[in-house]
């Protein structure tokens, strides 16, 4: 009996000791302490020390440049970054500044995660168009770099087989490409001369393969309205693409499931031609030196196509310190940081002034090809909030087509699923 009053007294004392009962948490990615506003910044670069170092360099420079704001960087591994953002959004705990994979920008803007960047007219005049996250003519994000897909081969292998080396101005036609791979196959040195990276998963599938579909004349969705995939994803051109893609497997040109790492296989001499991104350039050049050639994708009828847009920076719609976030983003868009990213990562600088300052991408530079390829043939993935659904539907369709399923049925179903998704989300209207 005597314990109860003591307990009550203890609880009362504890309650008196509680100060403020404040949340102590930063609900909207920013908190203020001692007159300094701390902004949270999230990046997908956990485990990528090279890019993370540039992120930190920019953040440190911004923090040192003024005393009103302090940016606190938090890195996540790329493979789980989107899930972490989605979970944070559902708990209303998004950071102020975050990076976003380009094709996801429309969806995140539609879902209310992002707000447009009010950085003034002409701010992005020098920006590579594929690196701007634009929705309804409003810029939601911008990137410091882009990447480009290309065919990677060895000059010696092509010339030994009497194959013309294509250029940006004169790419292979679809028939020429097939004939080239066929010749190498017939030479007998390569069991599977072409590596299409078919072991890849996730966003790799639409990024790598939808440009080939577009080159045939098909697409993931009708880009005039963004309301339907019927006719473009399951039309005759799309069927032709599917038949060609499956044909690479049935003819023994490529594996249904390639090795886990195409670059390693190419470097080890397992494949003669590889369909891969510009991020593989350093590894293959290191191994084969001047023998490596980077080639544009074939023209299957509608011109060579590659995907555009990589990681970009944006501001969350719930950011409590909008001015600070904009100030940071403005600071980070200095050409010198585009140069830093391009130099450190070997990726295409997304700013024309910066490109001239990076030897590899300046005119005559060894990777200039990727910049020109990107400028000439990059097509952003469909600018619609439906994109994540379209991408996952396309991933499944590609997997089924490569496995030998009935292409018409597979594509009809994919188009129908996408149409239904768009309808059931009220046409994704903002």
């Amino acid at each position: 009996m005597s314990r109860t009053p003591k307990l009550v007294a203890l609880l009362a004392a504890a309650a008196v000791g509680l100060t403020g009962c404040s949340s102590g948490s930063s609900d909207s990615g920013a908190s203020n302490e001692g007159g300094v506003t701390t902004l949270e910044l999230w990046t997908h670069n956990g485990g990528n020390p090279t890019e993370l170092a540039v992120n930190k360099k920019v953040v440190d420079a911004f923090n040192a440049s003024q005393s009103k704001y302090k940016v606190k960087l938090q890195s996540f591994p790329q493979a789980s970054y989107n899930d972490a953002v989605t979970a944070a959004a559902s708990a209303k705990k998004l950071p102020c500044v975050m990076d976003i994979d380009g094709p996801n920008v429309p969806n995140w803007a539609w879902a209310g995660y992002l707000q447009p960047l009010d950085l003034g007219a002409g701010f992005f005049d020098k920006q590579l168009p594929s690196t701007l996250g634009k929705v309804d003519d409003k810029v939601y994000s911008f990137g410091h770099y882009d990447v480009a897909m290309s065919l990677i081969a060895r000059k010696s292998v092509l010339t030994q087989n009497g194959i013309r080396i294509p250029t940006l101005d004169q790419p292979w036609t679809g028939d020429e490409f097939d004939a080239a791979v066929g010749k190498i196959k017939a030479g007998g040195k390569f069991a599977f001369p072409l590596d299409m990276g078919t072991a890849g998963t996730g966003e790799w599938i639409p990024y790598a393969y939808s440009p080939l579909l577009q080159s045939f004349g098909g697409d993931l969705v009708n880009r005039e309205t963004y309301q339907s995939a019927t006719g473009v994803l399951n039309g005759p051109e799309a069927l032709e693409w599917a038949s060609w893609f499956r044909g690479l497997i049935t003819k023994g040109y490529a594996q249904q499931k390639s090795g886990k790492d195409s670059t390693v296989d190419f470097v080890n001499g397992k494949s003669a031609i590889m369909w891969n991104g510009s991020w593989a350039a350093d590894a293959v050049t290191k191994k084969f030196g001047a023998d490596v050639v980077f080639l544009p994708p074939p023209d299957f009828g509608k011109g060579p196509k590659i995907g555009g847009a990589s990681w970009q920076w944006g501001m969350s719609s719930s950011c409590a310190a909008k001015d600070g976030a904009l100030e940071y983003l403005k600071f980070s868009a200095k050409p010198e940081y585009y140069v830093d990213y391009a130099t450190a990562l070997g990726l295409i600088p997304a700013n024309t002034d910066a490109a001239a300052q990076v030897p590899n991408f300046a005119p005559g530079g060894k990777y200039r090809f990727f910049l020109e390829l990107s400028q000439k043939h990059a097509l952003v993935r469909p600018v619609t909030p439906a994109y994540p659904f379209i991408a996952s539907t396309f991933q499944k369709a590609v997997s089924d087509i490569l496995a030998g399923g009935d292409a018409q049925k597979i594509l009809d179903k994919a188009a129908k699923d996408i149409d239904n998704n768009i309808k059931s989300n009220g046409n994704y209207e903002f």
């Binding site: 509680l18 100060t19 404040s22 485990g47 938090q74 559902s90 708990a91 705990k93």
Partner: protein, 292 residues
């Protein structure tokens, strides 16, 4: 007869050895590959060399692991989260099971049935509501000499521990085990003046070693392997567990040697724990007549 028995014994031995090799192969490959550069891992894949430490063997991948991720920090976090979850889990679940198996109170069968029924609900189905819930829960923080009431458990250690302390399967396992301990022991203890807590602490728990070991293992494994939950609720790198760390290695240019090195590092504690407790674990599973 003797010859055929011996032959059968030898055949069983051969079959067992084959099974051991079959199951040990991936682990052996992982461990050996962790010492090889990427190109060699792939080059060795098609031959016996894949599981032999031959060629360009070094600790380079392990060095790379520590350059890429704060592996030591992740390991410490996982040990802390797993250990506290196990200790609290053993205490809370055994107490619950004790109340259900030894005390006589109205509705205990219904409560037991309700607890067991929760086993059929997969975690993924209530993960998101749980995020919302823990985001609203209060917590007391010590700031200097003051206590501060905060809202939300996101990005903390407690959010990785407390939701997983109470566990229906552990309660059921303890319950099954406790029912096999004669009630007469309780009565004898009561004659000696023991209360319920005394019976729990001095009689039932000391006799439940195998059940405790089993619950320890079955609680430790999901806590150690936890991936989805910390991904959703932990934002700070300094609080992340080891399983999130594996994702750090899947970049555009994947380093398989480093992945194998990291995987080896995070597998060893689990293997050590299992080997240490395996006798009690098997004994408890056999006596409780259940499996996880």
């Amino acid at each position: 007869m003797t010859t055929s028995t011996a032959r059968r014994g030898r055949l069983i031995q051969v079959a067992r050895s084959a099974l051991v090799i079959f199951f040990a192969f991936p682990l052996l490959f992982m461990f050996v590959a962790s010492f090889k550069p990427d190109a060699q891992i792939f080059a060795d894949l098609g031959s016996i060399k894949a599981i032999l430490p031959v060629g360009d063997v070094s600790l380079e991948n392990y060095r790379g692991v520590f350059d890429r991720v704060p592996a030591a920090r992740f390991l410490v976090n996982s040990v802390l989260v797993s250990a506290v979850t196990v200790v609290l889990g053993i205490l809370i679940n055994s107490m619950a099971a004790f109340a259900l198996s030894r005390m006589r109170w109205r509705g205990r069968r219904v409560v037991l049935a309700a607890i067991i029924a929760t086993l059929i609900v997969p975690f993924e189905t209530f993960a998101l509501p749980l995020v919302w819930w823990v985001n609203k829960l209060p917590w007391l923080e010590i700031h200097g000499f003051q206590l501060r009431l905060t809202e939300g458990w996101l990005d903390t250690y407690q959010v990785q521990i407390l939701p997983f302390v109470a566990n229906a399967f552990s309660i059921y396992l303890f319950y099954q085990y406790f029912t096999s301990i004669p009630v007469e022991l309780d009565e004898a203890a009561r004659m000696d003046g023991a209360g319920w807590f005394g019976i729990y602490r001095r009689v039932v728990m000391p006799l439940s070693g195998p059940a405790i070991a089993t619950v320890a293992i079955l609680t430790f494994l999901p806590a150690w392997n936890s991936y989805l939950w910390p991904l959703m609720v932990v934002q700070s790198e300094e609080l992340r567990p080891v399983m999130i760390g594996i994702q750090y290695f899947f970049q555009l240019n994947v380093s398989w040697g480093q992945i194998m090195a990291y995987a080896s590092m995070i597998t060893v504690p689990v293997l050590v724990l299992f080997v240490a407790f395996q006798r009690a674990f098997i004994g408890s599973i056999a006596s409780a007549g259940v499996k996880g």
